[in-house]
Amino acid sequence: MNSFSLSPFLAQAAPAADAAPTVSGVAVFMFAAFVAMTLAITWWAARKSSGAGAFFAAGRRITGWQNGLAVAGDYMSAASFLGIAGMIAFFGFDGFLYSVGFLVAYLTVLLIVAEPLRNLGKYTMADVLAFRNREVPVRALASLSTLCVTIFYMIAQMVGAGLLVNALIPGDHYNAAVTVVGLLMIVYVVFGGMLATTWVQIVKAVLLMLGSFALSLMVMNHFGFSIGNFFDAVGAVSQGGETRDFMTPGFKFKGTLDLVSLCLALVMGTAGLPHILIRFYTVPDAKTARSSVIWATIVIGLFYLMTTFFGFGAATIIGPDNIANSNLSAPLLAQKLGGEIFFAFICAVAFATILAVVAGLTISASTSFAHDIFVNVIHHGREHNPGEEIRVARVTAFAVGIVSILLAIVLRKANVAFLVGLAFAVAASANLPAILLTLFWKRFNTNGAVWALAVGLVSSIVLIVLGPSVMKENPVFPLGNPALVSIPLGLVAAVIGTLLKPEPSSEAKYAEMHVRAHTGLGAEQAEPH
């Protein structure tokens, strides 16, 4: 277990059904109720919305708190809920480091990215990168990077869903679980667009917060609501025949550089995740984008704070030695403290979590393909027929869903942690440097953006493949997460690329971008009722 990957989720795929709890009919019922609710939302959204602004950006009429919850629902994946709980249950303090990084990352989003993005763009991250550069090369590469991040992240979620079901229900239901997840996300996005996706994410965020809060409360109840008793137990967890103080760092991460590289990927990667960034187009203006990040920071912060209770709770109340698959730590804890019905509820919440995240990923990928590649690269900024952009997005969403189902089935044995690590590394090394330089460096231009995206994308993939998460023993590249090397590489490439081919037109447009980013002049308006 010495792979320093970004997401611990399902790093060890449990052999199915050994000592695993089985899911009762209640869990299936609760999950069906959630699905029914999301389908009703989709039906409502499909009736309500028409036009590109509605499909891609929910008419830009989502309010601050709604978008805050939706960002939280888009972001808190199965890796957060199941994976981090498991990491804390098995490695104590080191697992909690993920919780911290995933939250602090929102300051990068808040202080640097969210408002200019809302002021400058329309539907995608590439809108900002192409603002003062030549559209075709920049959009093509930005879209490629978006699709890479999205697909890596998506496969990780879907493989996770399949393995989760297999661990909970006796027998092999992997393919069925993956197919159900894939079909549902297609339905949400194809019929309900961004509006349905948003509300599925809001409902999921509320459910996840309720489930986490109830679980935390039960843990504290177990310790007689005494923080002292709770931490005394955390200080003496029995693992592998010895008593360990789980507050002590070092049960997972051994090297400082590894730790710093991971933290860098977390704190820079989040602000480059396309499915998070496009959420800021769903609000009326930059001010609301800002307030939605603040709402998200509060919700996400409270959630990660609670990982202390249910992560350490699983370590102390059940004990890591009694958990076959670390990713089942939270559900097992729920079973032990709250009985079968609560266990069923937590399993349904885990599934809802996965569904909301994959829906966000699907709309991000299909928006980027339709808006960046189809309309702007192939058709040079014009729809040949009205409504074409949405039609292409729907077809893409369908294709993305089918491809994801197939890939998840083929890559069943894939190392999920590696895929999520890859997604964050590409986001941090390719997307974020390009966004930052576009906003803050006047001379930055098309060539620079192309180099930044290409080098960031390639270097993060190559370094992960050469690193310990793929090569296991004796890796060529020692760090589990490449961010510490690939982010500087992307930045250096951006500077060299920019200086090699100066572009007066790009510099000339800086004034317009500058003024618009900071004043909101000419920003996309919310659609009337």
């Binding site: 760092p249 603040i294 912060g301």
Partner: protein, 106 residues
């Protein structure tokens, strides 16, 4: 067409050169840059100290609760405080930006 384009560029540059806009940018930079440096320094202090100063981080404060855990926990409050402080400052920036837009429209 190209004439139109360059007058357009000049118009934007004229706004960019207005003292109110320059002041707004300077005020934003004075606030956001130190804020970013602060939160990055505070955040990266955690992995660096955990890696380089394990004795300090392992020091028990109360019961088994050690410096490392309290420092990690403090990151949550740091994030919330920075977010709230920024949102208050940003409300002022909004007003100034609004005035600039208002001036341009009249």
């Amino acid at each position: 067409m190209s004439d139109k384009k360059s007058t357009n560029e000049e118009a934007w540059r004229a706004i960019e050169d207005r003292p109110e806009f320059r002041e707004l940018l300077a005020a934003k930079r004075r606030f956001i840059l130190p804020m970013c440096l602060f939160f990055l320094a505070y955040y990266f202090a955690l992995p660096l100290l955990v890696g380089l100063a394990p004795d300090l981080m392992g020091k028990k404060v109360r019961g088994p609760v050690n410096v490392a855990y309290l420092f990690a926990l403090s990151q949550f409050f740091m994030t919330w405080i920075v977010a709230i402080v920024y949102s208050r400052a940003a409300a002022k920036f909004d007003r100034r930006a609004h005035e600039i837009v208002h001036d341009l429209e009249s």
